[in-house]
């Protein structure tokens, strides 16, 4: 009954990073609590939903966007990034080059999406496959985070369900904070924004079709 009075929030959270670092695994672990070694390649983008009863008054619907890691999909990412309020950049501890790519993904993200008021999205970094190579954390990660306003970084393991919940909670906390600051504190606001946008989108499309 009291659910009726709950404030519902919708957060679109991006999970990006190079191919094969475990984005899909992290999302499946977080959203469904499962792990498998048999995930398909993510072509383009995919998404999963998770509902969290954040507190007695707030229910958060998290839309986790699994963005294809292949470099050339970068031409499509602006469509996938739209309306996102937070992002997790994943790299693979067993592949140092995927950490190098983190800054590339961060740039791509910063270039293509920001919060409604122009603020940058809160970003966390997930050093995945911590079950295999927790000791191979790049030494420069701390400095990188400071330099690039990364909220935090975590050693995660989708396989062993390590740190994923706490990392995501941290990100949600940031998103909530931004939400509060933006005075968009009800579920309608996001919806309305989307509708307003789709309206213009629509008309432009129709215009082009002539």
């Amino acid at each position: 009954m009291c659910d009726l009075f709950k404030r519902e929030l919708l957060f679109k959270v991006l999970v990006i990073g190079d191919f094969g670092v475990g984005k899909t695994s992290i999302i499946k672990r977080y959203a469904e609590g499962t792990f498998s070694t048999k995930y398909k390649i993510t072509i383009g983008a995919d998404f999963a939903l998770k509902q969290i009863d954040w507190d007695s008054e707030t229910r958060i619907n998290i839309q986790l966007w699994d963005i294809a890691g292949h470099e050339r999909f970068g031409y499509l990412t602006s469509v996938y990034y739209r309306y996102a309020v937070a992002a997790a950049i994943v790299f693979d501890l067993t592949r140092p080059d995927t950490f190098v790519a983190v800054s590339k993904w961060l740039n791509d993200l910063r270039d293509k999406v920001s919060l409604p008021h122009g603020k940058p999205l809160p970003v966390i970094i997930l050093a995945n496959k911590g079950d295999v190579a927790a000791n191979k954390v790049p030494v420069q990660i701390e400095e990188f985070c400071k330099k690039n306003q990364i909220v935090s970084w975590y050693i995660t393991s989708a396989k062993e369900n390590r740190n994923i919940d706490s990392a995501m909670n941290r990100l949600i906390l940031e998103a909530l904070e931004n939400q509060r600051n933006n005075n968009l504190y009800n579920s309608d606001s996001l919806m309305l924004a989307e509708e307003a946008n789709s309206g213009t989108h629509n008309s432009s499309r129709l215009c082009c079709s002539r």
Binding site: F19, G20, T37, K38, Y39, K40, I41, I43, G44, A45, D46, F47, L49, Q63, A68, H70, E71, R72, F73, Y75, L76, V79, Y80, R82, G118, E194, E195, N197, S198, H201, N202, R205, C208, S209
Partner: protein, 591 residues
């Protein structure tokens, strides 16, 4: 598996016998056969046959553009590819639940690796792109490696698939646009529905196009689509170009699910339906879709859309400078807004300061008024006391009046007399002085009474305020001084009078034997007494002009009374008191 009738078997046998010249391919029969579905075992051969048919009708590939095009598969396999890593990672993620591909580095994955590696070397521009592994995977399920390689190359180069995998993915973007337009024209209701929930083809159709449905749809369905792709443009049925079939299939799929999709009323619901429900295709739906695919012709539209997209792109390019300009202006606007915001904040602070100061001023004004009243009262008191003492002196000659008291009394008497005989300009001066103007002697008394009533130092505002009156008071003073000097010359006042006036104005010059006044003077000099260093000489009304030698002798220079400040605010010494007493008392008494 459905049973094959005799005629169909005959067709497949004919095709696979590869005696094409003799057959001259009965198109109608072939189409009919393919509509029923090619038997699994014959598929590889049929696809190969159709590919050769197709190639026979178009000019060969320009090997200058693609120098590796004719390099044999075996040769390519001996080389190393820079895409090895990416390919390896994707092996386990291509048909991960299909038995042929599921075992890590088993025969399926190895074949897939070889095929993708060879292709990446054949076509360095494309190299490896995600999605390709599914296309290759489907081919490998129906034929051996080298044959699959031949057909992969065929699909990529001869059937136009290649463009969508190039690094800029322009081909994919054109196709996504075409699909969107197709939807707009063919299924407007669904188009509007998708548009409303912002379900763009980029979100759901990218895997359809990049894997020819293989990543999400059941293999039985996917192979039927492949059948059609190989069939198209082979002079058999549709004289069509490109990957027309993929669009027909996509359109058929969406139209078959139109009602259910329209019933979805959120972005997530639509996306979930497209991803999970739509791909599960049963036999009857498969036939329905295939039937629809055969009967729709959209090649004309697709060509139009393609041209349209290119025109749009060119337009976008041409307006690029304007777009950049707009972005620049937007940035400038943003900065200005920010500045404006800051200035507004500053203004607000300033306004609140003004308000605060205005309040302070009002409070101080009321203090001033209060002090003025007190001053008047004290004037009256002093007058009364003076007249009482005067009377006393007159009545009782034997009473010994201290010299100091006598002097003060005489001063008071004189000042009173002078007040009465003031000429008009002075009177006017006092009349003019409104509430804001503080007459010089009032300021003095005010500071005294301030000390008396225990109000701490009147703050600097007040002093400033007093100072601000300088020109006027200074004027008054210089005038009064001049006047006095003039009177002195005219002999209308005795010398002492001048002294008296100045003494009165020079606060602190009070005989120590007069306790009340002494006290007051002491307190006053500790406070904001204008004669003291706090602001003395800076044009305070009471200060005689100190800097710059006065053109005329200062009134006090004629006075016998001298006083010194030893660098402190305390009145140290009053000298020549006796002398004054001696010399002046007769005068005083005589008056």
């Amino acid at each position: 598996m459905k049973s094959l009738d005799g005629a169909e078997i005959e067709v497949w046998e004919l095709i696979t016998s590869r005696d094409f010249s003799k057959i001259k391919c009965d198109n109608k029969m072939l189409l009919h056969a393919i509509k029923q579905g090619i038997p699994r075992g014959k598929r590889g051969e049929v696809w190969h046959f159709l590919a050769e048919q197709f190639c026979a009708r178009i000019p060969p590939v320009d090997t200058e553009l693609y120098p590796n095009y004719n390099v044999p598969y075996e040769t390519l396999l001996k080389q190393l590819t820079s895409h090895q890593h990416a390919i390896l990672i994707d092996l386990g993620r291509t048909f991960p639940s299909h038995s042929y591909y599921s075992s890590p580095l088993g025969p399926g994955q190895l074949a897939l690796f070889n095929l993708l590696k060879a292709y990446s070397l054949l076509d360095p521009n494309v190299g490896y792109c995600q999605g390709l592994s599914f296309v290759a995977g489907v081919l490998l399920l129906h034929m051996e490696e080298s044959q699959a390689f031949f057909l992969l190359r065929h699909l990529m180069f001869r059937r136009g698939l290649r463009k969508q995998y190039l690094p800029d993915m322009v081909g994919l973007q054109i196709r996504l646009y075409q699909l969107s337009r197709l939807l707009h024209d063919q299924l407007p209701e669904l188009y509007n529905h998708f548009n409303f929930y912002e379900v763009a083809p980029t979100l759901y159709a990218a895997p359809w196009l990049l894997t020819i449905f293989a990543s999400q749809f059941p293999l039985g369905f996917v192979t039927r689509v492949f059948d059609l792709i190989f069939l198209e443009g082979t002079n058999v049925v549709f004289l069509l170009e490109g990957t027309n079939v993929v669009f027909r299939v996509a359109l058929a799929l969406l139209s078959q699910h139109k009602d259910q999709l329209l019933a979805c009323d959120s972005f997530e619901e639509i996306m979930n339906y497209l991803k999970n429900t739509l791909p599960s295709i049963d036999r009857s739906l498969l036939e329905k879709i295939m039937k629809q695919v055969y009967t729709t012709d959209i090649s004309k539209q697709l060509n139009e859309y393609k041209v349209e997209y290119q025109v749009l792109q060119e337009e976008m390019q041409s307006v690029q400078p304007q777009v950049e300009n707009v972005q620049k202006l937007e940035n400038i606007n943003k900065n200005l807004k920010e500045q404006n915001k800051n200035l507004m904040a500053q203004l607000e602070v300033a306004l609140s300061n003004v308000q605060r100061l205005e309040k302070t001023r009002a409070v101080q004004q009321s203090t001033i008024n209060q002090l003025k009243t007190q001053n008047r009262c004290l004037d009256v008191t002093i007058g009364t006391l003076a007249s009482f003492i005067n009377n006393l002196i007159e009545d009782k000659v034997d009473v010994e009046i201290p010299g100091d008291v006598r002097r003060v009394i005489s001063q008071l008497t004189l000042s009173e007399r002078r007040k009465e005989s003031k000429n008009n300009f002075l009177n006017n001066m006092f009349k003019k002085s409104d509430n804001n103007t503080i007459s010089p002697n009032r300021v003095m008394v005010k500071s005294l009474s301030t000390g008396k009533i225990g109000i701490p130092n009147i703050d600097e505002n007040q002093i400033l305020r007093t100072n601000s009156l300088n020109p006027r008071d200074g004027g008054f003073f210089s005038k009064s001084h001049n006047n006095i000097l003039h009177q002195q010359k005219m002999g209308s006042y005795p010398t002492l009078e001048v002294k008296v006036e100045n003494i009165e104005e020079e606060e602190g010059l009070k005989p120590p034997s007069l306790p009340l006044i002494e006290n007051l003077a002491g307190i006053g000099s500790n406070k904001v007494s204008p004669t003291n260093s706090v602001d003395s000489g800076v044009g305070t009304p009471q200060s005689p002009p100190k800097d710059g030698p006065p053109t005329e002798p200062h009134p006090l220079s004629n006075c016998d009374v001298t006083f010194t400040f030893n660098g402190t605010r305390e009145l140290k010494k009053v000298r020549n008191l006796r002398q004054i007493q001696r010399t002046s008392s007769p005068d005083l008494l005589s008056k």
